[in-house]
Amino acid sequence: MRRDIFQAIADPTRRAIMILIAVQAMTPNAIADNFNTTRQSVSKHLRILTECELVKQEQQGREIYYSLQMEKLKQIDKWLDEFRKLWETRFNQLDDVLSTLKKQKK
């Protein structure tokens, strides 16, 4: 199943996890210590974030460390930029419609 990046960041716990590991890579246990929730629930959030490639895992000895993937976050900004451009295009088209209407009224 393809995970949706926006769905991933829409969840407040997942956003909090991302902020936490933006500073330094952490193990799932260390992450779970920061939340009033079960280790399983944190694992589930980490799995979703990993599937969206918002975080990456790295094996260090016996532990797995999670860290934030900055490049992926930039995709969100890129999407918002596309949305902005869509509106720019629409409004420029509306300018043309309005100027035609103005001429018709005269």
Binding site: I5, I9, V97
Partner: protein, 165 residues
């Protein structure tokens, strides 16, 4: 051409709100019509080469507009808008949701609020869009960029085929 007209676009990711403000070089009644009359909306709402087609519109509180965005390949993406509040030439609100061709909505949709004001022979329109989820926000682009990207990749394929000859 329209660089002197105000255009502001901001997104509040945590509040799931998009704020859009734009000025137009026209009197308020004209801009109001362009935003509220289907035959005019259809002329500008779809970024070319997409087209918009309104099947029916009933512009009153509780009334609906059922319309499609059509890609150059003829793919139709239907949506339904339900007007929730109308203050003539001042403000209107609506609930927008994607739908199938039989008007069955795909929930949740988004809440739209449009406010109009006129000053110095210009009309300012402020739009706010509230989405229950970012996933849904991303979908707002569906049918535009997907259609656009599709036609672009079709063009790329065509060019690749032609250049091989």
């Amino acid at each position: 051409m329209n660089n002197n007209l105000l255009f502001d676009f901001t997104v509040d990711k945590t509040a799931k709100m998009v704020y859009i403000t734009r000025e137009f070089e026209a009197e308020l009644s004209l801009v109001w019509d362009a935003f509220t009359k289907a035959e005019l909306i259809d002329q500008w709402i779809a970024p070319k080469p997409m087209k918009a087609k309104t099947k029916y519109q009933d512009f009153r509180v509780g009334g609906k507009r059922f319309y499609a965005m059509i890609s150059p390949e003829g793919q139709e993406r239907w949506s339904i808008q339900r007007y929730t509040s109308i203050t003539p030439k001042t403000n209107f609100k609506m609930y927008n949701a994607f739908a199938d061709k039989d008007e069955k909505p795909e929930l949740p949709g988004s809440e739209w609020d449009h406010t109009f004001s006129e000053q110095d022979e210009k009309t300012k329109v402020s739009i706010t869009i509230y989405n229950e989820s970012f996933e849904r926000m991303e979908k707002l682009l569906d049918g535009f960029t997907k259609g656009m990207k599709m036609s672009l990749s079709n063009l790329e394929n065509l060019l690749a085929t032609l250049s091989q000859k």
